[in-house]
């Protein structure tokens, strides 16, 4: 790609994990959505990561979606409840989302650490020529 390839490769990883963080934050933001039983529940978003086309790092290949069926809960007091007292909620586990958030955050930091080390290494190589 370029002279300082490692920075670009690690940068593609940073972008992938940022999108994962975005997806997790979207899932958590919508975790308490309530819809009528006649409608779809909010579908959790999952990032599909894959190797980049040119072999330089990673990229987001697309999004996968969770169940539209969600789970039915009995809430007769809810204004959206149907005649039997049920509403539809998204089938998202907050614990799983928090775990995914930690994974995405740490991987993001790991890629930035790679950028940092690569910069130090390249700088050391340039300094070698200055002597």
């Amino acid at each position: 790609m370029s002279t300082f390839n490692a920075i670009g490769v690690a940068g593609s990883g940073v972008t992938v994990y940022r999108k994962w963080l975005d997806a997790v934050s979207d899932n958590i933001a919508n975790i308490d959505n309530v819809s009528k039983t006649s409608q779809n529940a909010f579908q959790a978003r999952y990032v599909v990561a894959q190797e980049a086309q040119d072999g330089n790092g990673a990229q987001v290949g697309g999004m996968a979606y969770g169940s539209a069926e969600g789970r039915l809960t009995y809430e007769p007091d809810n204004p959206l409840a149907d005649s039997e007292g049920y509403v539809r909620r998204p089938d998202i586990d907050l614990g799983s989302q928090m775990a995914q958030m930690i994974m995405a955050q740490r991987a993001y930091q790991a890629n930035l650490a790679v950028v940092d080390r690569a910069r130090d290494s390249y700088q050391a190589a340039i300094n070698l020529g200055k002597g």
Partner: protein
């Protein structure tokens, strides 16, 4: 004449040696100087690459200021890359100037 330095005249015998000529023939250099193998070509190609990364970093800086860039890390990484490219350019330039000055000092 028995001058102490008359022996230097013997150096004239060396003029018979002519292996230097093949090096000056164009046929010898044509083979090795491809499109980008000469120093000037490589240097200008490298400068273009550095210029491109600077332009990229500048564009991302404008996007950061606008608030249109979704990932600030992209800018910092582009700026890092541009900075490294400039450092490399300066290192090469300093070496070239150093070599030039070394040649200029080479007198008598």
């Amino acid at each position: 004449m028995t001058s102490p330095i008359s022996a230097i005249g013997a150096v004239g015998g060396l003029s018979g040696i002519a292996p230097v000529n093949p090096l000056q023939s164009t046929a010898g250099t044509e083979a090795t100087s491809g499109p980008n193998t000469d120093f000037a070509g490589m240097l200008s190609k490298g400068l273009e690459s550095v210029q491109a990364s600077q332009t990229n970093a500048d564009n991302l800086a404008v996007q950061v200021a606008n608030g249109t860039l979704s990932d600030p890390a992209q800018y910092t990484m582009a700026a890092t890359e541009a900075s490294l490219g400039l450092n490399l350019t300066m290192a090469i330039r300093n070496k070239a100037v150093e070599a030039f000055q070394e040649i200029m000092r080479m007198q008598a």
